[in-house]
Amino acid sequence: MFYRQSGIYHTRYEATRRLWPIPFERWQVGVILLLVLAAPFYLSALYLQSYLLPWLIWSAATLSLTLLMGVAGQLHFGYAAVMAIGAYSAIHLVRFGLPFEFAFLGAGLIAALIGCLFGAAALRVKGLYLVMATLAMQYLVDWLIINVPAISGGAHATLQAPSARILFFSLENDLVRYYFALAWAVLLTVFLLNVKRTSFGRALVAIRDKDYAASVIGVNPFRYKLLAFFTSSFLGGMSGAVLAFCFYRAVTPEQFSFNVSTQLVAMVLVGGLGSVIGAFLGAGFVLLAPMILTNIVAMLSDFGWLNVSVNLLSHLPLMIYGALILGFLLAEPLGLAKIYDNIRNYFLVWPFKHSRR
């Protein structure tokens, strides 16, 4: 119906290689882009600042992680540490007096260099052992941040993000922060949509599918595994900087703990490994579903329809979040992206379902 293919005849190779060969999808992307661009004009400040903004930033972080886990197939359970490095580097570089634009790049570079250390484990092991190694490194980075006062500003301290300007606009302004986060998310989306069409992306996919086989056909696993960690940590560190400057405004080590790493992996998996639209859906779902469901239960108990103790209510988000991961892994291991794809495929030939077989 919507995703109609009839009447679309590709006569040139460029046409078949487009990102969205079906006109409806181009319209869809355009409408969504318009909606988020106009969001500050029809959404209240509360929804914009506490729902849409974190969703965009976490989607950007999920996109950078899905490049590593979905495209290159390297498991990473310490991604929050990489983002922490980016966030803390950006703040310290701005405090040092660097313009924000350079501090932003510098944060990415520092995160990428340290992120390559995580990758050193990937050169030796894979699968479960890589999970354990990255997990251990997360704890190391956490400890370093907490226990070196020069980084965190002392134990249990929060580090205020200094005021900065991005291209003449002050980041103190809510609108500027929103549009900066939006621009970063769009930039990452465009990069990830296209990376699979480059030789770099194809090499990563070859490594993911079987690294020995890839080296037989001339893809150097050493080089591309490290490059995957470098690129992903670069983007992840910059996403961490965006998170620190646009959303948190003041960072503490707890905001980048191991639980956050798990949450990022959950976003990637719930969304669908290696999928771009999945990163947005997964980040939104993992971030918002526990909040919304808990609010519903709180509302029901306010009406007196459900008897829920305060203690149970405070642990409900954690329970819903855990149950969500279990539910998705059991019911649809390929994630929300697969559900979206199923719907799309259904409408592609609607109402002639029989024609697909």
Binding site: M69, L75, A120, A121, R124, V125, G127, L128, Y129, V131, M132, A133, L135, A136, M137, Y139, L140, W143, I146, N147, A155, K210, Y212, A213, V216, T262, V265, A266, L269, L273, N311, L312, S314, H315, L316, P317, L318, M319, I320, Y321, G322, A323, L324, I325, L326, L329, L330, P333
Partner: protein, 295 residues
Amino acid sequence: MDFLFLLELFINGLNTGLMYSLVALGITMIYKASGVPNLAQGAMVMIAGYLLWATIALLGLPLWIAIPFVVVLMFLFGLAIERWLLRRMVGQPVLMIVMLTLGLEILLRGVGPGVFDAAPKRLDLGLGLAPLVVADVFINRAYLIGAISAGILILLAAAFFRTRLGTKLRAVSDDHVASWAVGISVERAIGISWGIAGVAAVGAGTLWGSVQGVDWTLSALLFPAIAVVILGGIDSLLGVFVGGIIVGVLGSVIPGYLDPIVGGGTRDVVTSVLIVLTILLRPYGIFGREDIERV
């Protein structure tokens, strides 16, 4: 004096390490049988602790009835997890299985404190708090008894592998298809290994709950337990024993000297460094079996 201090750290580390081994025992049991890394073992320890507290405090049963009761409950709990969660994941990539157990860990970490209230619970085994003093060395009595019980339980687990059922489990851990061919029910063997992991969680939950109280922090025992299995070799019982002792001793001696200098929290660092170094130098641990990969 200095030597005494070292000895004290060493002995208390030894005791702690053996209690870590008890948590790690569950992970090894499951990995041996089914190749599943159970990252929910820490949460299972926590749930066992909560259940034991609930049977004693809420149902009013004495300790010696409560423990067997919780053992039965946790055995069934382990069986249920295997039957309804892990069996449906057979053949999925390791990432999915790791994430499933992590999801279970998060769920249990919400359910335990959510149902039983988040405040730490006291689990009194009647051991007393006064430290044991042997030749001027202070030994924490609870940890000592915990270590002895842990040692006994690990030896029992080793002995269990000599029985008829244990032999079946060893066959299953060697080769699923070959065990099937000679008439061993692989599903049942894996289920039983989960049940036994649940029982091991009761041991760990009782001992750790008595020394640090029952609350969600019990699930954080997962991290040292991971270090134990990585260091000792994830599919080796002897590795659990030796790995536990090394992790415990190093995690006690090094912080004992370093903590005053750098300001605390070095135990987690020692644990992390042990994991990273083991994986970089000898990924399969001290006693683990190396997998050979074919293209």
